[in-house]
């Protein structure tokens, strides 16, 4: 019996949790603070964690809770959005084959929609679609049922679909 040392947990999950928070907050400094807080909390609670617990899911739950608290002030959130949209479109400005440019435009548009989603939908979408986290875990992180978590992801996809309309970008498949 006995747990893995906390260093192992850090090694296995820090990069992913950081990436998740970076996608959620879209600012390096905030992702830095939130990932730090996630792992400090995890360290404090780690001893009490059953040795057969799903550590990855547990870390996502802590990170998501912290992110939700962080965004409780709506003002802070809109500021974060503005920053992201600018930085992403700047990034995607590269020249390239026509198809690629088109695809990148679509990607930028999808990202912009995701940034503007209500917080729970956005978190559910990122957890599920980017990090492949189970609905049960998402539900735990968002204090809702697995069905509601699923509905959040559905709504998010639906909004993405609506924003893309009937434009030709949709025809591009990768």
């Amino acid at each position: 019996m006995g747990q893995q040392p906390f260093e192992t947990i850090l090694e296995a999950h820090h990069a992913e949790i950081y990436r998740y928070l970076r996608r959620v907050t879209s600012r390096a400094a905030e992702a830095d603070d939130l990932s730090q807080e996630t792992f400090l909390r995890a360290y404090r609670a780690y001893r009490a964690l059953p040795s057969d617990a799903n550590v990855r899911a547990w870390l996502f739950t802590i990170a998501t809770n912290l992110a939700r608290n962080h965004f409780r002030s709506e003002g802070r959130r809109s500021r974060a959005h503005a920053a992201v949209i600018v930085s992403r479109s700047a990034l995607d400005d590269g020249a390239g084959p026509e198809g690629e440019t088109l695809f990148n435009e679509t990607r930028a548009r999808v990202e912009a929609v995701v940034e503007r989603l209500p917080l729970r939908q956005r978190l559910a979408f990122i957890l599920r679609k980017i990090h492949d986290v189970d609905y049960e875990v998402i539900a735990r992180s968002l204090d809702c049922s697995a069905e509601t978590a699923r509905a959040h992801v559905f709504q998010a996809l639906r909004k993405i679909r609506q924003s893309l309309g009937e434009s030709q970008q949709m025809e591009i498949q990768r």
């Binding site: 906390f6 990069a15 990436r19 830095d32 730090q36 400090l40 001893r47 990607r107 893309l164 309309g165």
Partner: protein, 318 residues
């Protein structure tokens, strides 16, 4: 905004199926539907395309430099936190509830909580710069050894100690001298004051022992008044002092130690005597004497019987 034309009753299933997030039964139902409903088939294809875009977003790397920087900062914070953390547990014992706390460096706290086995009554709850974490695993072995000690099956607790809760260098000095008092022996506060080079500081020594964060382990129960009175222990827990001393073979009469019926020596001395031995300078530094309850204990401390009074040939009868 364009409202896509799609059969609303099956829309969630189409979305789930197109984004690879449904079960085979749903997938089949969706397939059957889109085979005969062209608008829904179109929507299905569009959601497939979105899935492709999402896949690309998933693959967008976040600079490893940023991850590395965050990781480095986190490791520094963790190091600080680790250093501040004291893992503790509260155990039952013949002396009441006992809290044992241990840091990375070693055991930092042993505390009598009486019948209130609650960390809120502990020093840990009021200590600044300390993170108290309840955790049995690390202190469990300490507890077992402590129990063996209290049952008289063990005479030493050779634990790595962390003296961070000691209040001052003087206290540290006193506690270090206290650790030198052998198992089964007692000495006086004034004697200990001499040991630390401050012969007039008996009261300050008593204060230092009062704040001893590691009772039993640092055996402050082996320190008594110059008159032989037990004086005090852990506030008002004189009974615990008696219990601990009796485990070590030191008898008490009411609240005093019958020094006339104990073997005598000095700190650092290599032999032990009968109390009547002419070698014992009774007028000079009597408070510096240390007393053993039994010959076994005196000999276990590395002392041999005095060649003058021969306590080995004339043991004390009690």
């Amino acid at each position: 905004m364009n409202q896509p034309r799609v059969c609303s009753n099956i829309e969630p299933d189409i979305v789930a199926s197109a984004s690879g997030d449904s079960d085979p039964v749903t997938d089949e139902r969706v397939q059957r539907h889109i085979d005969r409903c062209p608008p829904c088939a179109g929507e299905y294809q569009r959601y497939r395309a979105i899935e492709g875009v999402v896949g690309a977003i998933r693959r967008v790397p976040i600079p490893t430099v940023a991850v590395g920087r965050a990781r480095k900062r986190l490791e520094a914070s963790l190091e600080g936190l680790r250093h501040r953390t004291i893992a503790y547990r509260i155990f039952p014992s013949p002396l009441g509830q006992i809290l044992i706390g241990q840091s990375e460096q070693g055991v930092s706290l042993v505390e009598y909580l009486g019948s209130r086995g609650d960390v809120r009554h502990s020093r840990l709850a009021h200590m600044r710069g300390v993170e108290a974490v309840e955790d049995g695993a690390e202190v469990e072995a300490r507890y077992r050894e402590l129990m063996e000690y209290l049952e008289g099956k063990r005479t030493r607790l050779e634990w790595p100690l962390d003296l961070r809760l000691v209040r001052s260098d003087f206290h540290r000095h006193v506690l270090s001298a206290t650790s030198e008092i052998p198992y089964g022996a007692v000495t006086s506060y004034a004697g200990l004051a001499c040991q630390v080079g401050k012969p007039t500081a008996a009261r300050a020594v008593a204060q230092a022992l009062r704040w001893n964060p590691l009772p039993i382990v640092i055996p402050c129960h082996r320190v008594i008044g110059t008159s032989g009175a037990l004086t005090g222990y852990a506030g008002d827990k004189l009974g615990l002092k008696q219990q601990l001393l009796s485990t070590e073979g030191v008898r008490t009469q009411k609240t005093t130690i019958p020094r006339n019926s104990m073997y005598v020596s000095f700190p650092g001395e290599t032999f032990y005597c009968l109390p009547s031995c002419s070698w014992i300078p009774t007028s000079e530094h009597p408070h510096r004497l240390i007393f053993f309850g039994t010959r076994d204990r005196a000999e276990a401390s590395g002392r041999t019987a005095c060649g003058d009074c021969r306590p080995d040939l004339h043991p004390l009868t009690n």
